[in-house]
Structure formats: C-alpha cells, structure tokens
C-alpha cells in the first residue's frame, strides 16, 4: 500500500521527465562572417491546469577567422503545475471499478528549474567540408544529462548534393525527488543511469533552381534506466486476487529507435518568393511503437522584411507493447506503463509566426502554436484512454541580432 502514499506525496516533477527545452543542433550552413545573437522567450501551457513552462533561450555564434566558428547556447526552463502519475479507479485510484477510470495527478505544487548549456565549434576544412563538435550538460533537481556530438558534412556534385553524418552520445542520471516534511529529498533505490548512442546519415539534394529535398536516417540505442520514476500502473492479480496494486512504471532496459525523415522545400517566385516546407517522418522502436509525422510550413514574405509563417502538423503513434491504461493481469516480462506518451493517439497542431526585420540588423518575431492530443485522432492503432487527452498552447517571442 506504500505505492499510493508515494503517489500522493510525489509533489514533484513528473513534469521533469516531460520538459520541453532546447536540443540545439551545432551545425552551421556556411561560414558565417557575422556575429549572431538569438534570444527567445516562450510560454508553454497545458489544458486543465496541468503543466506550465516558461522557457528562456539564448544562442550566440561567433566566427573565428575564415575557418572556425564557435557557438554557445543556454536554456532555462521553469516548470510549474501538475502531471499525470497513473490511471486508476475513483479519486484515490484504488476505488471500485464502478467508480470509473480516473487520471491520478501529481500534486499541483510542482516547481522545477532546468538549466542547459552547450558549446560547439565548427571547422570549415575547405569550401566543401565542415566538421562540428558540440558538448553540453543539462541539469535539474531530478535529472542530469551530459552529452556530446560530432558531425560532418561534405558537398559534392558542384554543391548540389550534401552528405551529412553525425554521432551523438548522452550519459544521463534519473532519480525521484519526494517531499519529506516540506523538504525535497532523493528517494533511495529509485532511478538509475541511462546511456544513449545516436547515429545519423543524411543526404540533401538540389532538385532544380526552386526546390530541394533531404533524406535523413537516424538510429538511436539507449541502455539503462528508461522508466519514469514518478509514474505507476494499476495491475490486477499482481500480489493477490482481491485488490490491484500500483506498480512502478517499468520499461525494458534497452531501446532501439529508428527514424526516417523526408523533407522537401519549394520556392514559388510568383507568390513573392514564398516557400513551402513539407516533411514526413516515419518512426519505429523496440518498445513496439510506430509513429507517423506530417508537417507543412508556408513561409510568406509580405513586404520587405516582413514574413508570415503558418504551419500545420499531424502526428499519430500506436501504443507500446507493455502499455495499458490498467492491467488486468501481470505481465511475464515485468514491464508496465500507463504513461500517456506510450499510448496510442493522434495529435493535430498548428501555429503561426510573424517576423519583422528592422534597422537592417535586428529581426523580431512572435508566434503561437496550438496542439490537441486525442486518443481517437490516431490512425496508427493501439490502445489508450481518452482521460489522457489534453491540449497545449505555446506563445513565443524572439529577437535576433546580426552584426
């Protein structure tokens, strides 16, 4: 019965494990002779008083001579709100089935700050070849991640074809923070280390004067503690045939993920040099999840320096092999998850951004995005519960300076 107490007391950052933040790509398209500074403030808000995150980002790129450029990025996420912890019956989770399924939420007094810094360098070997290295660290009160990645690009065929490859490594530690008489302490024996390797191969091809396409293949392998230390799953006939148990979210100790991304960009000179961006990504992993992502962005220059960018996205995934909202019987492999991110669902999102160039060196932009996740929007199948449906909105303001 200790499980229920933990659920109630888990005042913390189930949100920590679902934080939006920055994972910058330390890649530059061409030797930049200008110093560039980017800053962004975004507010992320979920429906029904769930999570709220304020995100502060800044990025600086400085060219060093003809052959090098260095980049530094910083992110701060301030998280408040509540997050789902389990699916159960009745308000306590332990209620009779007749009470109906309910979503057990963490307490609403979450407060967590995540800081991330990374530094990268790009080396322009010659007009055709670029090498990049990036190192960083992210930390918050229940999670740290140390990472580095290297990448290389080579332009062939009179710069009409670009081959890119990259490798990334991350070493993470995850644990659970609980409220102990008003003080936040680490739960002993919960959590662990996680190691991730990622490799990517990509090719970009100029199709004609007005269009280009890109194909990227990514493979990711993770080992270690891959579960969510704040989440539980309700399992019947686990320790006894009379009452169910809340079992900790337990996922396999390794995960293989594949992603294939196809991107297409096309210019429409008759429409004031507007550009269409269309992406399709297929994803598949060893947890049994397949997902499809379709994205469309339209960049419309209005008058000199002013651009409007509407975008639309559709996402669908099926559920993980070890996912159920509630388990009627224990699983032989001991894996359990009722995490809404492991369920089958679909999501539709869209947004619009307005950018304006002023004084030749400064660019100001503002935008908003809306996202709606629903179990019945999915085309990929799988199982889930409509209790996990939610929406979010994200408001963003950014400034870019080049000199």
């Amino acid at each position: 019965m200790a499980a229920t107490d933990s659920i109630k007391l888990a005042a913390l950052t189930a949100a920590a494990l679902a934080l939006p933040g920055l994972a910058p790509e330390a890649r530059a398209d061409a030797p930049q002779r200008a110093v560039s500074l980017d800053t962004n403030f975004s507010r992320y808000e979920e429906s029904a008083g769930r999570m709220r995150v304020d995100i502060y980002q800044s990025s600086m790129t400085i060219p060093l001579g003809d052959r090098f450029s260095i980049k530094a990025n910083g992110v701060k996420d301030v998280v408040t709100g509540a997050s789902p912890v389990a699916v159960g019956y009745g308000p306590s989770g332990y209620g009779p089935r007749s009470a109906g399924q309910s979503l057990i939420m963490s307490s609403a007094s979450i407060y967590d700050v995540r800081d991330e810094v990374d530094i990268g360098v790009n080396y322009f070997l010659d007009d055709k070849t670029t090498l990049g290295l990036d190192l960083g660290r992210s930390s918050e009160n229940d999670y740290t991640s140390d990472f580095f990645n290297i990448d290389g690009r080579i332009e062939l065929n009179d710069k009409k074809t670009t081959l890119a490859t990259g490798y990334g490594y991350a070493s993470d530690k995850v644990w659970e923070m609980v409220d102990d008489n008003g003080e936040k302490v680490k739960s002993p024996g919960v959590g662990g280390a996680k190691y991730t390797h990622q490799g990517m191969l990509g090719v970009t091809q100029v199709l004609d004067k007005d269009s280009l396409a890109q194909l990227n293949l990514t493979y990711t392998h993770s080992e270690g503690f891959l579960s969510d230390p704040y989440k539980y799953a309700l399992v019947y006939n686990y320790s006894n045939p009379y009452f169910p148990d809340f079992v900790r979210d337990s996922r396999p100790g390794h995960r293989d993920q594949f992603a294939v991304l196809l991107r297409y960009v096309r210019n429409f000179s008759a429409l004031n040099a507007a550009a269409l961006h269309a992406d399709y990504r297929f994803y598949s992993d060893s947890f049994g999840i397949d997902a499809h992502t379709f994205e469309l962005t339209w960049i419309q220059p209005i008058v000199y320096g002013v651009e409007l960018r509407p975008r639309l996205r559709y996402y669908a995934q099926n559920s993980a092999d070890f996912y159920q909202p509630v388990f009627e019987a224990p699983r032989a492999d001991g894996n359990y998850s009722s995490d809404y991110r492991m369920a089958g669902f679909g999501a539709i999102s869209g947004g619009i951004q307005l950018t304006n160039e002023v004084l030749g060196h400064l660019r100001v932009a503002g935008g908003v995005d809306f996202y709606q996740r629903r179990q019945d929007y999915g085309i990929a199948g799988g199982t889930g519960t409509s209790l996990d449906n939610y929406s979010f909105s994200m408001y963003s303001v950014s400034l870019n300076l080049k000199f």
Partner: protein
Amino acid sequence: MKTIIKLLMALLALSFAANASEQAPSCKLKTLDGKRSLDLADSQGKIRYVDFWASWCGPCAASFPFMNALHGELASQGVEIVAVNLDDNREDALAFLEKNPVQFAIVEDKEAQCPGLYKVKAMPSSYLIDRHGQIRHVHLGFHDVDKTELRAQVQALLDEK
C-alpha cells in the same frame, strides 16, 4: 545519343574547370547604369580582374571592399576591375551596392551569357587576365587568405611587359 553527348560535354567542361592559360572569351555586357558597353576580353593592354558576383552570395560582400581598395591603389597603374552581376533582379544588385559602394565598373548579365563561356564553377569567381587577353589565374570563392595571393598575382601581372 543526346545524353551521351551531354555527358561527354560535361566531362569536357570539368576537365577545363581551372581554365587558366586560355584566351579570355569575348562577351559584351552593359554597365549597370546603362551608360556604356564592355567586352570582358577586350582589356586594351591593361590587367583585367573579372569578378562574377550576385547579391545573394555571402563571400561577395567580403570581396567588394578588397576589390575597391585594389582599384583605388592600382587603377592608375593599369589594373581594371570589372564585376559581372548575375542577379535575376536589378533591385537586388542595387540594394547590395548601396550597402557595399564601390568605384570600379559593374556590368550586368541577367541572361547569364558570360558565366557559361567562362565556365564559372563557384560564386564568386575571379579571373585575372593579362595584357594579351590570356586568363592567367582563376579563383573560386573568396576568403580572407586569398587577399594576399590576389594582390601578389595582380602585381606580378603588372610587372610583366
């Protein structure tokens, strides 16, 4: 058959990528202000520095101040700089020149007749032509390190008789 010929021509073009030690191809263009007409090959005994550029080419912004300095120093000694604009829109070229004002000659080639003849392989591309109309050096792209080399090459061509 047509594809084979195209392929062979492409290979031929590639083999002549550098294009040095060749007679500069004749190509007549009008200056941006429309006032006069120039033939790229007709150097009239001077040293010609022909630069193919466009407003959208990043390194071009760096090369213009350098070429302007060269013009200031060496025009009186017989070095003529001719920059060939390859923009589709005149306005883009004019906007670029407002940000990067220069004293040397700017000609426009909207239909891109000349870059094909000169087998331009990169943007920008500079061709150093001697007093006898022979292409002696070809530079693909523009970097800070090219400045000293270009200066030395122009000086060497000037010193020739």
